[in-house]
Symmetry: C2
Subunit: 473 residues, 2 copies
Amino acid sequence: MNLENLFKPKSMAVVGISKKNPLSPGRIIFVKNAFEMEVTVYGIHPEGGEVDGVNLYTRLDELPEIPNVLVIAISADATLEYVQSCADLGIPACIIIGGGFAEIGAEGMKRQEKLVKIANDNAIAVLGPNCIGVYSPPLIDTIFMPTERITRPPKGTVALISQSGGVLVDQFFHKFKEINIGVSTAVSIGNRAVVDETMLLEYFSKVDKETLNIAFYLEGFKSSRRFLELARESEDTVVAYFGGLSEHGKSATKSHTASLSGNDRILSAALKQNLIIQPRTELEMLTDLKLFEILSHKKKPFNYYTIKEGKVAILSISGGHGVICADLLKKYNLLSVEYTEDEKREMKKLVNPVARKIASFNDPIDLTGSAKDEDIENLIQYLSSIDRIECIILLILPYTPSISFQIGRKIANRVTADKKPLVCFIPYIQKYGLIIESLELSNVPAFHSIEEAVQAVSALRMLTRNYNVKQKK
Amino acid sequence: MNLENLFKPKSMAVVGISKKNPLSPGRIIFVKNAFEMEVTVYGIHPEGGEVDGVNLYTRLDELPEIPNVLVIAISADATLEYVQSCADLGIPACIIIGGGFAEIGAEGMKRQEKLVKIANDNAIAVLGPNCIGVYSPPLIDTIFMPTERITRPPKGTVALISQSGGVLVDQFFHKFKEINIGVSTAVSIGNRAVVDETMLLEYFSKVDKETLNIAFYLEGFKSSRRFLELARESEDTVVAYFGGLSEHGKSATKSHTASLSGNDRILSAALKQNLIIQPRTELEMLTDLKLFEILSHKKKPFNYYTIKEGKVAILSISGGHGVICADLLKKYNLLSVEYTEDEKREMKKLVNPVARKIASFNDPIDLTGSAKDEDIENLIQYLSSIDRIECIILLILPYTPSISFQIGRKIANRVTADKKPLVCFIPYIQKYGLIIESLELSNVPAFHSIEEAVQAVSALRMLTRNYNVKQKK
């Protein structure tokens, strides 16, 4: 099976285009791809004619070429006939939108078995059934939500593969954009009758060169052995967020995709051992992906894989932020830094006379609202020179009048020169866009809450660990 | 001491206006209030003249009236002289911006003692020192951040009182706006030499009628006994978020405000016993305040104080969201609902034929992406009629084509008619504004993540508990 037909098709056909209902999935998919995407699209309708000004073909075997992929958005029984047509005509891939298979019980289970047999016998890469398909810009988009209702994220290196179409859309098409996670591909696997998480991990890891970070939302493995093996071997970063791990959630997944998560602890240990990063909350997944994206899609001017013990210096211009951050270090198993009297004296010399009087150079360092740009630059430089500090969390609030709008660029320059990993908290709002962009263009990840900044350092430590395990091999 | 002079002044004077530096705190405060706020402002500068076209007086005793409040933004020693002038002239309140008092050690401590003596002997309501003051729209704003760098939240019922100016600005002037928390007043207490959290709790609880929800960021109590007593008696909802509770954070607060948090568990128990709601994270504080705001600043069409056991029905149109929500119930000590076969049959009848085939009526209910507006309305109505269900969490994703843009209003109408508490997850983004606003105008709180929706139900349960304790008295 060649999965490239799903993600890099030159041509596609769509069946299940309603002439009456412009909001039917098949119709949306047909029109969206015809007008918004680069793939060549053929619509099939038994009566021919047109929708929205685009001509339709009456039969699959009438098309001027064999398409790379067929999107099927019709009833379950008719779906099987079309998959058989793919076999007969040599169409190498299809995406099955509709349900009525394993998820509805015994009758559907039988139908799914037939589907799997046709697919395997004919090496057809079948995605679904019961899924929303693929978003692989600029070529193909079968996510049958009207485009005006979703938000397309920027181009980047993260692929998201999800057992839930709803979670895929919510994360990929709303939340990734908000915190600037660049993406390559979104895949909804539905019942994963044929193409499953393991095949997709292999594809994105070995074939797709754009993808450098592969994220999964799963409620259990179809089969875990090969998946774990592939993850361990992968040069990409693999992230897996699991739903249904609690007792209550477990019973919920039965109804959802008929898959059971195993024991929570055993699962987590297996993921860790195989270098898969497992976020525990939605927010943590977003933080991880944002961090990994920033570190991978641009040239890295320095090595971020240096966080072994988890020793973090906190540099703040707000005492309260420093306190909250110190509280959070413990939650994420990170360590604080104690400064010697000499170090404190050195730091004191480096800040302006007004701030010097009121600043605190005990951990967490609080330069106060009287801090100026240069003070922050100087302190970053100084803290970078202390060997036992593995990473700096900078809590920066650009609303105090003594901080200039150039602060982002200045921090970025300092970090690039000093080569010590630095993670930033800054209110991640539109009006600070210039500051945030200066940071992120220089590989300094910036986050909207203190907790995300701490999560990012925790993720950096896992990256370091995984990197070292891979180096040893 | 009459705190109304701090929050409802008719006139104010400012000392510490730099003619050279337009970004000095005193200058920003003077100009901001002169141009943006309704209070009458008098600027004091020994040389007279003007800044930004506004005339200055040379001395405090030259002003045409005794101002309600004096804002002092000068050095520590000169500050004491001005406080003495307040005593001499009968100015009943002052806000001290500058530091150099207890936070800098022995010398400052002495200075602060002098300050306290003058204030107490003359009943002057002194806010600070070492603070950013007060934002009480439309009258007064001493938050000396340039206005273009902050974001003013909407008018409402939440007062935020903070021991950290940075936390105050970050929450109140960025995050409250994002999730639509309506505010009354922001107060930075700094060293709380005279006016402290207890006096402010009393003022906002008993005097200020606009404030119905009083929130604190504290790193320890100045003295807790009276505070706890007042909170227990208050008709307002009192929320206290504590920083510095971890071992690491505790040592941090020493440097910040010289106050120690007590034992974490003892503190939490005391708060709970005295009906104070204690969020454990920044996100939870925001969720709590948003919920309390929505429930208090509009007419309540029904009783929200009904969540005793914490039994919550989950209604989703995305299986994955249902699973994640079910996982989160446990984290927040909430309970799921089991449905009888009869109930499942009833629910099945209430949804459209396409969704009926694929929907799951086990908890969490998953209507699937084929659900239509009417299905959601019908299910809310049905679930509301089941007595053992105390609250409904609705996970709504308005990107499936079968959900209309009217869905918010339809849910709101249903909830108002059925009078069962309902909390909504919906992507909280601009393009869904019409839907979100229809919900929130009808007291249905809407949140951007599943976790926030679950937090809100947890907060509702605490409200119920506190309400019942108060009823018994």
